[in-house]
């Protein structure tokens, strides 16, 4: 006698997995299209690859493997580096680094979540290498190399150098900033939302850094000293 119970168990798990995938695929498409104020792909210089996966996903929503990567990844126009958002942590796990690439320019944010931060800017070479600078005298330097879906590099903060790895970030993870005047104080906050939902951010009131309150990664809403602000995705 062969017992078939275990087979049914496996089959049920498989069916459940396929069902969840199709639900994810359909709802994922919807949220991507409604929340497209400024996701990575909407700002992309080439609209063709973004249109293709959305179309296929809507036409065949119950396809179990809705990976938009095949149409996206084999478009390596050698002339320029693809637009994208990258976020990750330093090798010593003390700080977070996020890089946003748009049309050959990059903006990066280094932040330890307590008192040390830096905004860095610069150009991205066609081979994916970059040298971004920040700080008062451009003495803070990020050097990085984009390979595939990740950027590896180092951030030199003057006193210390940090190695980091930033993986491709998908909304809502990425880099956010909010600036405003709250009760006479200039407020400037920067946030890195990591893929697992963790946030690393610093809020400066008149230049004094403090750990930042959490933002709602879906809307960017954050409350600072009783006032509601909106943190927006950062672009170079």
């Amino acid at each position: 006698m062969k017992r078939s119970g275990p087979l049914f168990t496996l089959l049920a798990g498989l069916l459940l997995a396929l069902f969840m995938l199709s639900v994810n695929a359909t709802t994922g498409t919807r949220s991507a299209s409604t929340g497209s104020e400024s996701p990575a792909d909407a700002v992309s210089s080439s609209p063709a690859p973004t249109a293709a996966p959305t179309a296929t996903a809507t036409v065949t929503p119950d396809k179990p493997s809705p990976s938009p990567s095949p149409p996206l990844s084999p478009g390596p126009s050698r002339s320029a580096v693809r637009n994208g958002d990258y976020a990750g942590r330093t090798d010593d796990d003390s700080s977070a680094v996020a890089v946003t690439l748009r049309d050959g320019k990059a903006v990066a944010y280094f932040c330890d979540g307590r008192n040390q931060e830096s905004w860095l800017k610069g150009d991205v070479e066609a081979d994916g290498s970059m040298r971004l600078t920040g700080g008062k005298d451009k003495d803070q330097v990020l050097t990085g190399q984009l390979t595939g879906k990740r950027i590896r590099g180092t951030v030199d903060m003057g006193q210390r150098k940090y190695g980091f790895t930033a993986d491709k970030a998908v909304k809502p993870s990425g880099l956010y900033r909010a600036t405003a005047t709250v009760r006479g104080a200039k407020v400037d906050g920067g946030w890195i939302v990591l893929r697992d939902g963790r946030q690393v951010g610093i809020l400066k009131r008149d230049g004094k850094p403090t750990p930042a309150p959490r933002i709602d990664p879906e809307t960017g809403a954050v409350t600072v000293d009783g006032k509601q602000l909106t943190a927006r995705p950062v672009t170079p």
Partner: protein, 194 residues
């Protein structure tokens, strides 16, 4: 001391050299299926672009919370699995329905774990950026492979008595480490929230 009447796989010594040939297939098929499942999940998680977002359940603040609670439920049933298995093997006194308890707690644990894994692979992918994440990714793929092997091994009769406890123990240990590296980490980092 209760012994499940269905536990035909246990306690029978191998019947001489005659069932040697089919014996190889009995191990080979589950092993191949297990490898295919584990490698397939890892490859899928690694190759496709993580979506970042996915379907959320009402009443929970984040998908992280949903997954942590589902994983905790699965781990709870896994403990039931361990206890009921000890009952089946007569190491603990147990009721006559400990066999059914073992089967159904296992099914529930598996079915509860599936949506968590789907979310992991769909939204986050196979990641290696820190040891916790690396082990979680690795064991997450291993778990579903080992579970498939366990299910398929249940179908063959006259296995050596140690096979099922070993494979079952691997499944249980993998799930425990997966829980420690995800849900426990989540609760310690974000607090026990819903």
């Amino acid at each position: 001391m209760t012994v499940d009447p269905n536990a035909a796989t246990q306690g029978f010594p191998p019947h001489g050299p005659v069932p040697r040939r089919p014996g190889a297939a009995r191990y080979l098929v589950p092993a191949l299926v297990a490898s295919a499942v584990a490698v397939g999940l890892g490859a899928y998680g690694n190759l496709h672009d993580p979506e970042g977002t996915a379907f959320n359940l009402a009443g929970f603040s984040s998908t992280g919370a949903v997954k942590s609670w589902l994983a905790t439920v699965a781990t709870g049933f896994a403990v039931v699995q361990l206890v009921s298995a000890l009952m089946l093997y007569g190491r603990l006194p147990g009721p006559s329905w400990s066999g059914a308890l073992h089967r159904w707690s296992g099914r529930i644990a598996f079915l509860v774990a599936v949506p968590v894994a789907v979310h992991c692979l769909y939204a986050l992918g196979y990641q290696t950026y820190e040891p916790r994440v690396l082990w979680h990714s690795l064991l997450g793929c291993f778990f579903f492979g080992a579970f498939s092997a366990k299910m398929l091994l249940l179908r063959s009769e006259r296995l050596p008595g140690w096979v099922l406890p070993i494979v079952g123990g691997l499944v249980f240990s993998a799930l425990t480490v997966i829980w420690l590296t995800s849900a426990l980490w989540f609760f310690r980092t974000f607090g026990v929230t819903t």
